[in-house]
Subunit: 160 residues, 2 copies
């Protein structure tokens, strides 16, 4: 699956699934009503490296970002975020994006990667675990899930 | 100890100890070279409620902020930050600020408070613990401390 750095031109192809995922309010700790303008500023921030995954026809089916999780004396710990078009799920896009971003983070000199807020009911927890991430701790009853009620937010970590 | 909401006029009285604390690079995950302009944008952000503690003479001896730690479905978890002028340490200013901010967070409807990155060698860990915070987990070897080498970052939590 081809994965490449995103350009500004990719945003209109990311936004439809970005919006659908955030509006569902099941996996991200962002405002489900986030406007396209605010979403673009968030995801395509100059502080982030952004990637897209394409299918055989060249359609964007997923995106990821890589950024420092902290600054200053802790700047060598990375953070990343991943979104796969729900209509294109189950084809390994999330794993391919994650492996790419982990390799990029390692090449950039990061020592570890941290996810600050993984909703504990998110099926991606299994993917992160299979990639070597562990749950360092869980913020209890932090996330109001539309179907599961109050659920925890995992802090997940992997050394690089 | 009088604690009140900060105004824009307070910033020049916060900046000297803010700079000293961040430049020491022992407790905050911010760039030790943060400029005054960037520091002001960080600390006095419109997304934050900012407080100052004053001594008997009306001098600002500490400051704190209160802000959501996440957005959307997790927006009822607060985050906060605290700084006390190192020259005025040991007089209960940190505890007084923390008690004030915890009360403000409760009144604002937050259900919990999380600190995302407490350097494990920071003496304030003892203060947070005495106020009911627990360590949910520790990001190992995440912070390059100038004297202790690589130390962990605690994720700390207290229900409100």
């Amino acid at each position: 699956m081809p994965i490449r750095e995103a350009t500004a031109d990719d945003w209109p192809r990311i936004w439809p699934f970005w919006h659908r995922i955030v509006a569902a309010a099941e996996t991200y700790t962002w405002d489900p009503d986030t406007s396209e303008r605010a979403a673009r500023a968030l995801w395509m921030s100059p502080a982030k490296r952004v990637y897209v995954a394409e299918d055989e026809a060249g359609s964007v089916v997923g995106s990821a970002f890589l950024t420092p999780n902290y600054a200053g004396p802790a700047a060598r710990v990375a953070n990343a975020g991943f979104m796969v078009d729900p209509e294109r799920a189950g084809r390994g896009t999330g794993r391919a994006l994650a492996e790419h971003v982990l390799a990029e983070a390692t090449a950039a000199g990061y020592r570890a990667m941290v996810f600050n807020a993984v909703v504990e009911t998110n099926p991606a927890v299994r993917l992160w675990t299979s990639l070597g991430f562990t749950v360092l701790g869980t913020v209890p009853e932090a996330y109001e899930h539309p179907r599961h009620g109050l659920v925890g937010l995992h802090v997940m970590h992997r050394a690089l």
